[in-house]
């Protein structure tokens, strides 16, 4: 664990932050001296009291979990559309079989996306959890843990929309959505600009999110801390903390364009204007304006993250549930000087500036873990022309997290992977710089396909050194049951 106490961080932050930034700005991208330096330095590492207590509670409650402390806790995402808009469980038979398979395989739990557009679909404040409750019940019965993702975005691929009433408000107030320079709206999540604007029948977006979270907490309290071990709070498009700069990107593939700034809705523009007035007139100097603009643009993202994470953190403060937020991995143009793709996404991370430090700081401040996707990605699989480097970027962000004691959780980008990708995941997960929680995305036909599933099985078995932990399968000290070996089958081993 690489968690500092909040106080510890503040101290180290106040002492070290500035010099670090200097090092960072001048040297970081030149020869990666920054991270190496940190690795060798004895940076104070402490376990936060909150996590400590959570861990000890767990340990006393369920000894088998503490057995896993050496290994990675693996969660597998359930299908995005597991619960339909009319609150039925989609492909429940397949999910049931899948849950059993995962349990037998020794997987810790599953991840379930819970959609704003499903549970608060009809009217503001009118929540319907029946479908999810049924599914969570199923998960509990299967003996698996659950990590919930609260999704405040829409998903085009699965035809999951924002709540009807949000869309209706959006028709009269289009500025609740992001807009790019040409005025094209991105309607799959709310603009950060309305976080604190009372545009939803007198409520701000944050208040609306809060209502949703509170209702969720109330309805799922029987599962909280027992079956439900973690919650990821949706931070933006696809749940990730970013601007929808590449919103036409194809799912599960990395967009190779630089993307567009998404701050042209009325509220964002007025914020920019206000900010500019406070700073004085930066328009005289083009370079200065660029810096001013990018700072402002990225600060909006950081502020949004702070609002959302603190909301989530305080909401789940009285539970043992681990709160996380997800960052995107925007590796395109990482090898360029200006990192345009990251910048339009809201990360002012260039060769001169580490954009992830302030993000990590916010995660630390709110005691939230950070989910990093793309731990399966390999530089060698990236097209050459976009100067992409997922491996370096990931290392970069993880360094930032380590600096601030933010726990990193891994997630993969592609469902069906090659052996190499699994190797890459494994490398990222194990070792001294290990990751404790990994969300494998995601259950479905690709996941169970004969091409992928055997690889996944082998991957899981290689993670848990103890192969399949028999004690995990439930204890029954009754009479022994004769094992009937099935057909002669070979598992495709790696």
């Amino acid at each position: 664990m690489f968690l500092t106490t909040q106080r510890g961080f503040c101290q180290s932050g106040s002492n070290n932050n500035k010099p670090m930034m200097i090092i960072c700005a001048t040297e970081n991208k030149l020869h990666m001296g920054f991270s190496q330096m940190l690795k060798s330095s004895n940076f104070p590492v402490k376990v936060s009291s909150r996590y400590q207590s959570a861990a000890s509670t767990k340990a006393s409650r369920d000894p088998t979990i503490s057995d896993h402390k050496e290994g990675v806790k693996l969660y597998v995402g359930l299908p995005l559309n597991s619960v339909s808009e009319c609150h039925a469980i989609n492909h429940s038979r397949a999910i049931a079989a899948g849950l059993r398979a995962l349990k037998l395989l020794g997987v810790e739990g599953v991840e379930l996306p819970i959609w704003w557009g499903v549970s608060e679909r009809e009217a503001m404040g009118k929540y319907e959890w029946s479908g999810y409750l049924a599914l969570v019940d199923m998960i509990q019965k299967s003996g698996l843990k659950l990590h919930v993702s609260l999704c405040f975005h829409a998903c085009k691929e699965e035809s999951i929309h924002l709540p009807k009433w949000v869309s209706e408000i959006g028709e009269s107030k289009p500025d609740i959505f992001f807009a790019d320079r040409s005025g094209t709206r991105y309607k799959d999540c709310l603009s950060f600009g309305v976080d604190n604007l009372p545009v939803f029948d007198g409520k701000t977006a944050i208040q609306v999110y809060q209502g949703f979270i509170e209702s969720f907490k109330t309805f799922f309290s029987p599962f909280m801390g027992s079956t439900i071990t973690g919650v990821t709070i949706g931070l933006g498009p696809d749940g990730e903390l970013r601007y929808p700069s590449c919103h036409d990107r194809i799912k599960n593939s990395v967009d190779h364009g630089a993307g567009e700034f998404q701050c042209y809705d009325e509220n964002m523009m007025s914020s920019l204007k206000e900010n500019a007035e406070n700073v004085g007139n930066p328009l005289g100097d083009f370079t200065a304006y660029g810096d001013f603009f990018l700072s402002w643009y990225s600060t909006q993202l950081v502020s949004h993250a702070d609002r959302m994470l603190s909301l989530a953190s305080s909401s789940f403060n009285d539970t043992t549930v681990k709160v996380t937020g997800k960052l995107p991995l925007v590796p395109s143009w990482y090898r360029s000087r200006s990192h345009p793709a990251e910048v339009t996404a809201g990360f002012y991370n260039t060769i001169y500036r580490n954009g992830y430090e302030e993000i990590a700081k916010i995660f630390c401040k709110n005691s939230c873990g950070m989910i990093l996707p793309g731990v399966d990605m390999l530089d060698e699989q990236q097209p050459n022309e976009v100067f992409s480097s997922p491996e370096l970027l990931l290392a970069d962000i993880r360094d930032a997290c380590r600096n601030h004691g933010v726990e990193v959780c891994g997630q993969n980008l592609n469902v069906a992977s090659t052996i190499k990708n699994f190797e890459q995941i494994k490398q990222n997960l194990v070792g001294e710089n290990g990751i404790e929680l990994f969300l494998y995305q995601r259950m479905g036909s690709d996941f169970f396909s004969p091409e992928n599933f055997p690889l996944f099985t082998a991957f899981v078995r290689s993670l848990n050194q103890v192969e399949v932990d028999l004690d995990d399968l439930g204890v029954n000290d009754g009479e022994s049951v004769l094992l009937v070996p099935g057909k002669i089958r070979k598992l495709q081993a790696v």
Binding site: H91, V468, P485
Partner: protein, 883 residues
């Protein structure tokens, strides 16, 4: 006759019959049968006489134990003739205990002078029989044996210690050749003061002793006290045999003896007797059976080879199992020679004798889906050979899991897995401490994980969001409209122009005439009118005189007028032709109604011969029987000629354009072809209605068998008629009623009804006069009819709209769907691309021109090259058109 322990599945027939079996060493029945009146000597002396038919010696049963002590490791020892493509081999030793029933005969004869007696002991089973005997003397007390006096011993006797004599039995010379009797004769004199002769019988070949109820046989020669209860020829039983016996023993429960001197009143005469005691001889026969499997690399089929050295005829009673359950199933062919089906439960194949007569062999081809080969052997003497009390089970080794088909998705399978896992999990955890077991347990877990994954994969795959595979239509798509008797133009929209109540007014034709214009404006192209003939039932489905067209719907002229009116607005008219059955005018001599009148004055030869109710003299029915009326025997040429003529007459006289054929399950589709070719309809459709597949009251997802039966009928009719798509209706029922819209995509991502397999021949409908109306035999989910119409009116096939629905609040919605269908030129061969088949929503794109969804779930067609605009919507359905 006892039964042989066999697998449970065999129980029902191994008790069926007792075969009379003659062993190789038959004897003439007569040789032993002195008289057929026998008195039970054990019946307390009572002279109760009864018949007992004499019996041959026969084999009772054979207990067979086969053990597998040679396993696959023996493959290395295979001889050269069995090449290396053998993937399995096992040699089973077969140990048969051959039980033969025979009898021991005991006969005491008195000579003329009443002093010289002769005891004859015989046995009709082959063997090296020896009589082991001794005597009791009159003044002896106790039951110890003594050696008989020397003059009493036959010449070839040998003495055993000091108390017994052994005398071999000799083949009897007096018996005829067919039967063999071994016997020994002991002559003695009453003056020798012998009180009794004791004996047991021994077969020196098998070292078996035969005694009487565990005791010696005892033949009393003087009056004994009743204490001795093992006396033969007396009311007493025999004394205990003190010696050691092998497990073989005589089973002589009943003693039949016969008093030769029925009038006898003297002591001596009472002593003369004859008795038979049934015995069972058991012999162990050792044989072996060699089973090996070869895989044919070309066809990937398997070839099971069975060889045995059993010299007799061997019948392999076999089946296959398609999974691990060892459940017997009949494989699809080809079968080996000399194979026949046994009660639909198993196959029986007689093995071929090897050249030289030493044993026999058989080859059994199995397809690659076979998981195991199950069999027992049946020998000609009704002897069964099984494997340690259960069937022989030869698992077909599969090379790797990758070969396994993964799309097993029936519910039963799932439940089975879940149960297995449940057992497994508890089983494994209790094994947890035993480390030696953990490897095995892990392997088992991994296997189960794989099963589950395969299961989940199959389901997820079947409900993929967008199926890349476009339903390709086998039938040629031609630019010019081609009329065929099954499809019309291909753009037909059918209207059922009546319901179950339409006969009530008596003037339906007139009433319907008023609606003709409206029906035309709605866009129908074909109307189906009720059965026009005279009928016993008012609805017309019990026709009698086919040429009498006065019915409860109106008279012939009104009908003609109606048809003319429809033709005027461009609607073709189908007549409801009821030709499966016909009600008779007259009774035959037995009072059975099976003689017809009218123009078609057929006699009982026109009635199928296999319906006992109507005593037809025709052939067996070529289909199912309709039980309320005589079923017409279409195999009779005169019947077909008459019916063809009748159809042609209706075409000409009334102006019908085609047919709706009632109850076509009742006769072979091939006859339909003949009628269609004779009457040349513009359009015709058959009603092939039988039940869908249900498991535990829940409709199966896979209704392929059901639609296959309909397809088979269409094929029999050579595609000259379409058929109502009952499958689609049934699946729509479940999908809509239970919110299980995933049912609307089959395993290949196509529509699950007939329309998915042969769209141009599928006449889709959601309700008719039988299923709905006032009968309601199988009513479409109430209030949700529009979802059904949104499906059939946007999909390929020829849709039918029921009268009750068009003249209801649904009219405008149906009308809108019909116009949309016509506007977009959706036809019977249009292509369907299923976009969603999930729990609560089904969505499809037809011909890339129309998008539709039914169900409460959300769906929006994705705008790509075309933009979609919502055209029709209603309760839980939406239809879009591409613009």
């Amino acid at each position: 006759m006892a039964t042989v322990p066999l697998g449970t599945h065999l129980h029902h027939y191994c008790r069926l019959e007792i075969l009379k079996f003659n062993t190789d060493f038959k004897k003439s029945t007569h040789s032993l049968c002195y008289t057929n009146i026998r008195t039970s000597m054990l019946n307390n002396g009572a002279k109760s006489c009864h018949f007992r038919p004499s019996y041959d010696s026969r084999v009772l049963n054979t207990t067979v134990r086969a053990s597998a002590n040679i396993s696959r490791s023996d493959t290395a020892l295979l001889d050269a003739s069995i090449s290396d493509d053998v993937i399995f081999r096992e040699i089973f030793p077969l140990q048969r205990i051959h039980k033969v029933e025979g009898k021991i005969t005991i006969r005491l004869d008195c000579s003329n002078n009443e002093e010289n007696w002769q005891l004859t002991v015989g046995c009709n089973l082959p063997g090296k029989w020896v009589l082991h005997w001794g005597v009791n003397y009159v003044n002896d007390i106790g039951s110890e044996w003594d050696q008989p006096p020397v003059d009493m011993r036959p010449s070839d006797s040998i003495t055993i210690k000091d108390y017994a004599i052994e005398t071999p039995l000799k083949k009897s010379s007096t018996k005829d050749e067919a039967d063999t009797l071994y016997e020994v004769k002991i002559a003695f004199n009453t003056k020798s003061s012998i009180a009794a002769i004791n004996f047991v019988l021994k077969d020196e070949e098998t070292e078996s002793w035969y005694q009487y109820r565990g005791r010696d046989f005892k033949v009393p020669l003087v009056n004994f006290s009743d204490e001795n209860d093992n006396a033969v020829g007396n009311k007493q039983e025999f004394a205990v045999w003190p010696g050691q016996f092998s497990s073989m023993m005589i089973q002589s429960e009943d003693t039949y003896s016969e008093d030769e001197n029925k009038n006898g009143n003297s002591k001596e005469s009472e002593k003369s007797f004859y008795e038979e005691h049934p015995i069972v001889q058991e012999t162990v026969v050792e044989n072996s059976m060699d089973v090996y499997i070869k895989k044919c690399s070309k066809t990937s089929n398997y070839l099971v080879n069975i060889e045995t050295d059993i010299p007799d005829d061997v019948i392999v009673h076999w089946g296959i199992s398609k999974d691990d359950s060892k459940k017997w199933e009949i494989p699809s062919g080809p079968y080996p020679a000399n194979t026949y089906l046994f009660k639909n439960k198993a196959l029986r194949t007689q093995l071929q004798h090897k050249e030289g007569g030493n044993g026999c062999y058989g080859l059994f081809p199995l397809d690659e889906e076979t998981a195991g080969f199950l069999f027992v052997l049946k020998l000609k003497d009704n002897t069964w050979i099984n494997y340690m009390g259960s069937d022989f089970y030869i698992p077909i080794p599969k090379e790797s899991e990758q070969d396994r088909e993964v799309d097993e998705e029936d519910t039963a399978y799932t439940n089975e897995i879940i149960n297995e896992i449940r057992h497994l999990v508890s089983g494994i955890s209790s094994e947890a401490n035993r480390k030696t077991k953990s490897k095995e347990a892990q392997e088992t877990i991994l296997q189960e994980i794989e099963k589950l994954a395969a299961e989940a994969y199959a389901i997820f795959r079947s409900s993929v969001q967008t199926s890349p595979e476009i339903t390709e239509e086998v039938v040629d798509v031609e630019s010019t409209v081609k009329i065929s008797s099954a499809t019309g133009s291909g753009f037909e929209i059918l209207f059922q122009g009546f319901n179950w109540e339409s006969n009530k007014s008596g003037k339906w034709y007139v009433e319907l005439e008023e609606k003709v214009a409206e029906l035309a404006s709605l866009g129908f192209t074909v109307v189906w009118l009720p059965p026009p003939t005279e009928s016993i039932s008012p609805e017309g489905y019990m026709p009698r005189d086919l040429y009498n067209l006065n019915s409860r719907y109106g008279n012939a002229d009104e009908l003609k007028s109606l048809v003319k009116k429809f033709h005027k607005v461009g609607i073709r008219v189908l007549g409801d032709a009821v030709i499966n059955h016909r009600c008779a005018h007259y009774q035959n001599q037995n009072g059975i109604w099976n003689i017809f009148g009218g123009l078609l004055n057929w006699d009982d030869r026109a009635v199928v011969g296999d319906d006992p109710h109507f005593q037809g003299r025709g052939n067996k029915s070529s289909g199912d029987n309709f039980h309320a009326a005589p079923n017409i025997d279409h195999s009779q040429e005169f019947v077909r000629k008459d019916l063809s003529e009748w159809l042609c007459w209706l075409r000409k006289e009334i102006g019908y354009d085609g047919w709706r054929l009632d109850f076509v399950r009742g006769f072979w589709g091939g006859y339909v072809k003949e009628y269609m070719e004779a009457s040349e309809p513009y359009f015709s459709v058959g009603e092939y209605w039988d039940s869908l597949s249900y498991t535990y009251g829940e409709m199966d997802h896979n209704q392929d068998a059901h639609r296959q039966r309909i397809i088979d009928w269409i094929n029999d009719a050579n595609g000259t008629a379409g058929a109502f798509d009952v499958t689609t209706k049934g699946i729509l029922h479940s999908a809509i009623e239970r919110c299980e819209y995933w049912r609307l995509s089959d395993s290949k991502g196509k529509p699950p009804g007939v329309v998915g397999w042969w769209p141009s021949r599928a006449v889709t409908f959601i309700e008719n006069h039988d299923t709905g109306s006032t009968q309601g035999h199988w009513r479409f989910p109430g209030g949700k009819e529009m979802q059904g119409y949104a499906y059939i009116l946007t999909h390929p096939g020829t849709p039918t709209v029921f009268y009750d629905h068009i003249f209801s609040r649904y009219k405008s919605e149906i009308s809108a769907l019909i116009s949309l269908r016509k506007r977009n030129k959706i036809q019977c061969r249009s292509t369907v691309r299923i976009n969603k088949a999930e729990r609560d929503v089904y969505a499809a794109i037809i011909d890339e021109k129309v998008a539709m969804k039914i169900g409460p779930g959300h769906y929006e067609p994705q705008s790509g090259s075309q933009k979609w605009s919502l055209a029709v919507q209603g309760n839980d359905y939406k239809v879009w058109e591409a613009s």
